[in-house]
Amino acid sequence: MIFRPKYFFGETFSSFRKNFLMFFTAITTVAITLFIVGFFIIIVFDIQGILSSIKSQVAIAVYLKDNVSDELKTYLENEIKSWDEISQVNFISKDQALEKFKKDNEGSEILKEIQGNPLPASFELELKSPEKVEQVALRFMDKDGNFIEGVDEVIYGQNYVQKLFSITAIVGTIAFLIIIVLLLAAIVLIFNTIRLSVHARRKEIEVMKLVGATNWFVRLPFLFEGFFEGFIGSIISVVLLYFLSNYLLIRAEKALVDTMHIKDLAILGNNNIILYVYAGLVILGGLIGVFSSGFALKRYIGV
């Protein structure tokens, strides 16, 4: 068969014009279903991002005894800094601690009760891998279960950390299943719509076959159409998702940052993953379009 691009594109374009309603239906179906799938994927990535931001802020507070010498303090600080799991160490002196306490409780009765400075100095540790929090905390104890010299107490919210990790895992699994179900629903819906649009033109296929068109000559314009329907539909869904994630989600995330005091929230606006999601949706749209047309044609092409 000779490939004749002018005929195929011309045929695709003119049938686009003449079967507008069918095209419109197919494209809207692709756009809406893929939008829902994409929206869910973005939300899931967002939730995962928020959870991992929270996780990354899992910190250990090491309170020092009041009588700790500068030498011991420096020794401890250097020791902590040499551990691989640590991403950052901040020293907070007694004065700084008091200042912060005053600031946090401004106008409160409590401040009047305070005499001198009852607050301890401390190290605040931030971890590279939050899962190792317990391991790191245990290093401040000797083998008898007492804190090492100069350390008064170590706090890292044990229960809270464990719960957070298991919640993240559950959310991840459920979200994955929902995305799979949504995706299957989208594929079936798009397939049926495109099948209908092929069915609406079975007379055309019959005539083509009877005047001696080869199967590929019949098939190609339909495959082009299926591709365009999927492609244009998915582009529309990506454009909608782009605006949605740029305006609504980022606004929502900012609100979260403000209310929950989460620093460095992994917002999607500056996340490369979303580009892969967009590209994936467009490729998926085009592929579903071509395959749906191909499968739908199988029934009519055997005249």
């Binding site: 000779i2 005047v211 001696g212 000559f217």
Partner: protein
């Protein structure tokens, strides 16, 4: 030269219905043949076998000397390009103009645009509807639509033209016009086979008549009439 030859052809459908029983027909190049008989006598089956829409059960069919029964699927389009096919219900595409409907038949067999531009007006002139190039099928009368359908079947100048009840939906005056057109196409040298129910048309034409009944040929008569 034998254009069409049926040799001991039997067709049994999947549901067990025997449509043709041991049929033998020879149609020479340039002949005009009527296939007559009641509904279900096997006329349509005969035509469908010729264009390989359905396969034979036993026997063989030759078109221009070639056995088409063992044709590979990829060669079927080639066979159909040599056989024009006119339907009772026209099968024009409603969303294409007359020009596009006929051009479509050429485009899908890969004819270049310049050939299409020449051939379509030519065939429209032949069927007497050159002025309807830009009309849509629904704007034409039934007779005109059938002429367009014939134009589409003939635009590629196939050596054989098959017509399945082409006047079945038309009134007598319009039918006469269609028959004149088919005669003219036959005169150019095209072999024409036409299935028909229409007694007056068959009688007035005085052409070869093959009569089928329950899948068997009961009469094959030169210059025949509808009823024996």
């Amino acid at each position: 030269m034998n254009m069409i030859e049926f040799k001991n052809v039997t067709k049994v459908y999947e549901d067990g219905n025997i449509a043709l029983k041991n049929v033998n027909i020879v149609i020479k190049k340039g002949e005009f043949v009527f296939l007559v008989g009641p509904s279900g006598s096997g006329k349509s089956t005969l035509i469908k076998l010729l264009i390989r829409e359905i396969p034979v059960t036993t026997g063989s069919i030759f078109v221009a000397g070639r056995n088409i029964c063992n044709l590979k699927a990829s060669r079927i389009p080639q066979l159909r390009r040599n056989i024009g096919y006119v339907f009772q219900d026209f099968k024009l595409l409603p969303n294409k103009t007359i020009f596009e409907n006929i051009a479509f038949a050429l485009e899908v067999i890969g004819k270049p645009a310049y050939a299409i531009k020449v051939q379509v007006p030519q065939v429209l002139k032949l069927v007497g509807l050159a002025n309807k190039v830009n009309s849509y099928p629904h704007q034409l009368s039934a007779g005109e639509q059938q002429r367009i359908s014939i134009a589409r079947a003939f635009v590629n100048r196939p050596p054989i033209l098959l017509a399945d009840e082409p006047t079945g939906n038309l009134d007598p005056a319009t039918s006469d016009g269609i028959m004149k057109l088919l005669s003219r196409i036959n005169l150019i040298g095209t072999t024409v086979a036409m299935a028909s129910h229409d007694k007056s048309i068959v009688n007035s034409m005085r052409r070869r008549v093959i009569e089928l009944e329950e899948g068997e040929i009961i009469r094959d008569q030169k210059r025949g009439v509808y009823g024996s």
